[in-house]
Structures are given as C-alpha cells and as structure tokens.
C-alpha cells in the first residue's frame, strides 16, 4: 500500500508538470488591468 501511496503522489507531480499553462491569458488580463488603472 505504501507503494501505491507514493505512486499516486508521483502521478500528481507529473500532472502538474504537463498541465496546460496559460501565460498569454494572464498577460492579456494584466494589460487590461493596467489600462483600467491608467
């Protein structure tokens, strides 16, 4: 059971590495906020 516990945590770590990243969306959002602040 310990092996399963380690394996399930390892699966999560790998998932975080391959999960989609949306840097462009965040950049757009920041620009919009900057415009609003200006």
């Amino acid at each position: 059971m310990e092996i399963l516990a380690f394996a399930s945590f390892a699966v999560l770590v790998v998932a975080w590495l391959v999960a989609p990243s949306r840097d462009n969306v965040i950049a757009v959002s920041h620009k919009a906020e900057d415009r609003k602040a200006a």
Binding site: M1, L4, A5, S8, F9, L12, A15, A19, P20, R22
Partner: protein
Amino acid sequence: MPTTISAGDTAWLLLSAALVMLMTPALGFFYGGLVRRKNVLATIMHSFFILCLISVQWVLWGYTLAFGPDKGGIIGGLDWLTLRGVGQEPGPYAATVPHQAFMVFQMMFAVITPALITGAFAERKRFKAFVVFTLLWATFVYDPVAHWVWGGGWLGQLGALDFAGGTVVHITSGVSALVAALVLGRRVGYGREALEPHDATMTVLGASLLWFGWFGFNAGSAITAGGLAANAFVVTNTAAAMAALTWMTVSWLHKGAPSVLGAAAGAVAGLVAITPASGYVDVSAAILIGLGAGVFCYTAIQLTKRLRVDDALDVFGVHGVGGAWGAIATGIFATVAINSGAKDGLLAGNPGQLGIQAIAVGASIVYSAVMTFVILKVIDVFVGLRVPESEEVLGLDASQHREAAYQI
C-alpha cells in the same frame, strides 16, 4: 476499563466539541462565498440558525432519541428526555468523561449535519420552510440513523464501522441534499445566466476553518486523548491535503487552470471521505482515500451538472459521494493494527467487512432519500418550499430577512 473521569480525556473532548461547533459557522462562510451577493446573509443564516435550533432540540429530545437506551435497534428510548439523568458522571458510551461532555460533543455533529444540506437549496428556499424542514429532518432522519450506527442500533450491532460520521453525517446529508435539489427544482436563470460565487476568498476562509474544526470532529471521536486520537488527527490532515491536490489537478487538466475554489472543495471532500475511516486506517490508506475523494467527488459534480440537477453548492457530490466512498474505503483499508477494538477490512483479510459497510451505505441512502422526500412534500403542502419568483430575483437577503450584507 477505567470508570473514573480522566482530566485529559475530558479536556480533549470538550475542546473537540468547541472545534466542531466552529465548523457550522465555517460552513456558513464556505457556502456564503459561493452564492450571489444578494443571498449571502440568508445562506450564512441557515448555518447560524441551525446552530441555535438544534442546540435546543438536542437537549430536549434529540440526544435521547439518538443515544437513549435502545428500543429494538431502531431508536433510543425517552429516558434522557431534557437530559434527565445525563449528568457529570460517565455515561454508557465513554467511561472516562462526564456524560454531559459526550452529549455536547455529539450535539455539534447533530448541528452541522442538517446545515450541510442547506447548500443544495440555497438561493430559493423559503425561510419558514427551512426551519420546519430542519426540525423534522433532525428528528426523523439524523436522530434515528445516529442511533442505528452509534447508539446501539442495528447497524452498530451488525458491525458497521463509522468512526466519525461517514454514514450518519455525510451520506444522510448528501443524499438528502440531492433529493431537496430535485424536489425544489432549479433556480431562476439556471443554465441561462452565470450563477457565480460572489466571494471566493470567503469560501477559502470557510474551508480552512472547516479543516481546523475537523480535527475535533475526527480526532475527538476517539473520545480519549491518546494514540487513537493522534492517528485520527494525522490521517485527517493527510487525506484533506491529498484530496485538495487531486481535485485541483483533475480540474487543471479538465478545464485548463488550477482552481482555487477547486482546491478548497477538494480539501472538504477529503475531510468527508476520511471521516468514517479516521480511527481505523493508516497514513498510506489516507493518501489513497484522499486521492479517491478528489477524483470521485469531482466526477460526480460534473455528472450532476450534466444532468442539470441544481444542487446549488454541490452538496451531493462532496458529502454524498465522499461519504459513501469513505464508508466503503473503511471496509477496504481498516486494520486492527490501528484500532485494536475494531475489525480488519478487505486488505487485512476480512472481506465480509466490505459487505457490512455496503449495507450501512445502502440503508442510510434509502432511508434518508425516502424520509427527506416525504418531509419536503408535507412541508410543501402546508408551508410552501420556494419563495415566489419575484422574491428569488430580488434575493433572499432582502425578501426573507430585510437586510443587506454589504453597504459598499
């Protein structure tokens, strides 16, 4: 077995009762953040009002129905009506603490259970109907099922394991929530407009306070301040963390971003799932239980949304499914190495325990569903369950309470 009062056990149990008491207002914040701004006071009021209502119901007749001397395995006798005979000496359930300490610890469980259901009918239920429903539900659903499992009733006699309330608290409330959502119907605007949470920070704060209070819920259920309480504390924290990580990861892969609300809901799902198992399993099992909670509860919520069931704050997915998974997982992972007074589960060579757990899950699902349906239908005839559409559009804070949450 000692029969004198232990200062350590008593202090731990009273502190645990206070921790569990905090969970109900915490639930109010958890739910309050998830509703629209015009309904936040009404939603918080559900939890706060139940804290007051069931505190009185429990001392008058709730405790004796749940824990009074057994009548045929079904219900407790009326011997302890208005706490007659429940005093400072130990009672039959805990040899080292005053009977009143055990009673008040159990009171806080009776309080939070109907409060969990309120998330399903949020933003549309008439306050008067909610009051009557809560009183009837506590009396005719919670008290009997608590007796079946913990008060010497038929499920306890059968050997069902439920350390802190997977069946008694979470399956009953989760299934009742689903029934309530179906009977009340969808909110005005459901599927046509965004019914978005008005304050995610409030929800995360509520989830954090729930997590804190849950240490009393699970570790307090050891009743003694010793190794069993410590184990329950550790596995509770582990499962909550693992479920939060899992839910966030699944939602990240599914919807493209690591959701903050998802992490909060995942933590609660993990806390729910570990609840029945917390006195019987080790930390590796807690990781697997948390993993399962994150996957199963998230999937259940997607399914209810696809079926267009307006369980407004996902009570069935988190508590019904999480509670059922936890109860079944107890039958898989339980081991006497953790609790010598309990029984082994499937993986320790006792497959029969899994069958007993399945019976407990099935019985609590069927009984809760039928009774909740009957109670709601009776209330609908005499009081009316929903507010009129115009009041729902206006919001329950104004229409039911004539107050506003924010003056900003």
